[in-house]
């Protein structure tokens, strides 16, 4: 059983639909006991980092999430969920969860798409883009490296270098996958990224099962 963290800034239903289609048992919950009992936790997020943090703190979920991470519960952050695992976000000048060292920055609209430097990037970064891994990551097992994923965001994660797992280029390369084994964060939406995205979710579920069975 996977738990999808329930809070106001989450797009829980689209994650649930994707897990359902894969036959992965899941529940949307904010209950600390249910979260602790789950094999792994998915931490989605949409909207602004400031609002997302307010919602988490307001519901006491920031400390619940942190203690799950200390207990080495496998966790997957998605989009804003990925961003607020860092120390800080420029969006709304937000002090975030500080689980992974680093911060989240606004795309610079002066960056250009082409080498000639003529076309400024559009912000938000919205659409399909590729991910190149700089570290091996079992979330990407069985996924063709040419695959693309669906992104919608104006701020990008900039974690400490040793936590950078994958990069995407939009004007410049930025970190689109970060974390460490068992604590992963993806800036794109795997639940909206077609077959490769579903494969990533299935890989996360398989990892969670493995960890649970080993205990």
């Amino acid at each position: 059983m996977l738990a999808i963290l329930k809070y106001r800034a989450g797009n829980q239903t689209s994650v649930r639909r994707a897990l359902d289609s894969l036959g992965i048992a899941n529940t949307i919950t904010a209950d600390p006991d249910e979260l602790a009992a789950a094999q792994g936790v998915i931490f989605p997020g949409v909207g602004a980092a400031g609002t997302a943090m307010e919602d988490l703190v307001g519901g006491g979920l920031d400390s619940v999430l942190k203690s799950l991470i200390w207990q080495e519960k496998p966790l997957l952050g998605i989009c804003v969920g990925c961003q607020i695992l860092l120390d800080y976000s420029e969006e709304n000048d937000t002090k975030a969860l500080a689980v992974i060292p680093g911060e989240c920055r606004l795309f610079n609209p002066a960056w250009t798409e082409d080498e000639a430097g003529k076309t400024p990037i559009k912000v938000p970064h919205m659409g399909w883009n590729s991910v190149s891994l700089v570290q091996d990551c079992e979330l990407f097992a069985g996924i063709d490296p040419r695959s693309e994923f669906y992104f919608v965001h104006s701020y990008y994660p900039a974690p400490a270098e040793q936590y950078v797992i994958g990069q995407t280029t939009y004007g410049r390369p930025f970190c689109s996958v970060h974390g460490r084994r068992g604590l992963w964060a993806v800036q794109f939406h795997p639940e909206k990224s077609g077959r490769p995205g579903l494969q990533l979710l299935a890989n996360f579920a398989a990892y969670c099962r493995e960890v649970a069975n080993a205990q």
Binding site: S14, R17, S21, E148
Partner: protein, 259 residues
């Protein structure tokens, strides 16, 4: 680098496609869910559903379609047609659509754009614009006028002004349909597309007139569109999404392929 997007558009009335979609073997599919699933598997980057139902009963059936699509298709899809209020937006987003497109409703009540952006985020709100060429005048200096009700009713709005207003109100994207080019299969109105692309900073989807993959390639390379909307050229089995993408990619345009 971001890929340019290919977006098939499906017209739905009372829960069924208005024109059946023909796939391999000329099987005519009238079910929007099944058709969307087929395009998803072929590599569509998004799908647009346009509801042309008039009755409120048909509206309910349409929301069921949206929910079914959301449970089977794991790419973004948007919904347009008859969206006039924040409540209309909320209903389709709750049913599982990623984005919602406002057109005539936004001309009549522009606040619906800002309300939608504030409530759901700018990335959810697509401003649909139907545009017709008219003689340049003081009122319409660009020579492109916004029309509503399927192109039948002029609004007196200059398309450039309206696009900028929509962006300022919080639209995350513009779906730009040329009434003149629509149905001709002679290519998108590249001048119109380029004009709007250069007037706003949000992505522009070119719509109306696609007859072959080359037309789409030109919308990207010559007019700077971020995405191209297509309908009949894939619905009647003339081209496949993957075939279209291969043709465009061969010209150096980044396309997402299904691996």
């Amino acid at each position: 680098m971001l890929s340019k997007r290919i977006i098939p558009c499906l017209d739905v009335r009372d829960g069924k496609l208005t024109k059946g979609v023909k796939f391999k073997g000329n099987v005519d599919i009238g079910d929007p869910v099944e058709s969307a699933r087929h395009y998803y598997e072929q590599g569509a980057d998004e799908i647009v559903f346009y509801d042309i139902t008039a009755s409120s009963e048909g509206r309910g059936i349409f929301l069921d379609v949206v929910e079914k699509v959301a449970s089977q298709i794991f790419i973004p899809f948007s919904v347009g047609g008859g969206i006039n209020t924040l409540e209309d937006m909320r209903a389709v987003l709750l049913a599982g659509a990623e984005k919602v497109s406002v057109n005539s409703g936004a001309v009549k009540n522009p606040d619906v754009i800002s309300q939608g952006a504030a409530a759901f985020g700018a990335q959810c709100v697509v401003l649909g614009m139907d545009v017709k060429r008219v003689p340049k005048s003081e009122a319409i200096p660009s020579g492109f006028e916004v029309v509503i009700h399927g192109g039948r009713k002029p609004t007196g709005l200059d398309a450039v002004d309206w696009a900028r207003t929509g962006e300022a109100l919080g639209a995350g994207e513009i779906c730009l349909n040329s009434i003149d080019a629509d149905g001709t299969k002679e290519g998108y109105d590249l001048e119109l597309t380029r004009t709007i692309v250069q007037s706003v900073r949000i992505p522009v989807i070119a719509s109306g007139g696609a007859g072959n993959p080359q037309h789409m390639a030109e919308a990207f390379t010559k007019a700077g569109a971020s995405a191209a909307l297509i309908a009949s050229i894939v619905h009647y089995g003339e081209y496949t999404i993957s075939g279209v993408k291969e043709h465009i990619a061969a010209q150096g345009v980044k396309m997402r392929m299904v691996w």
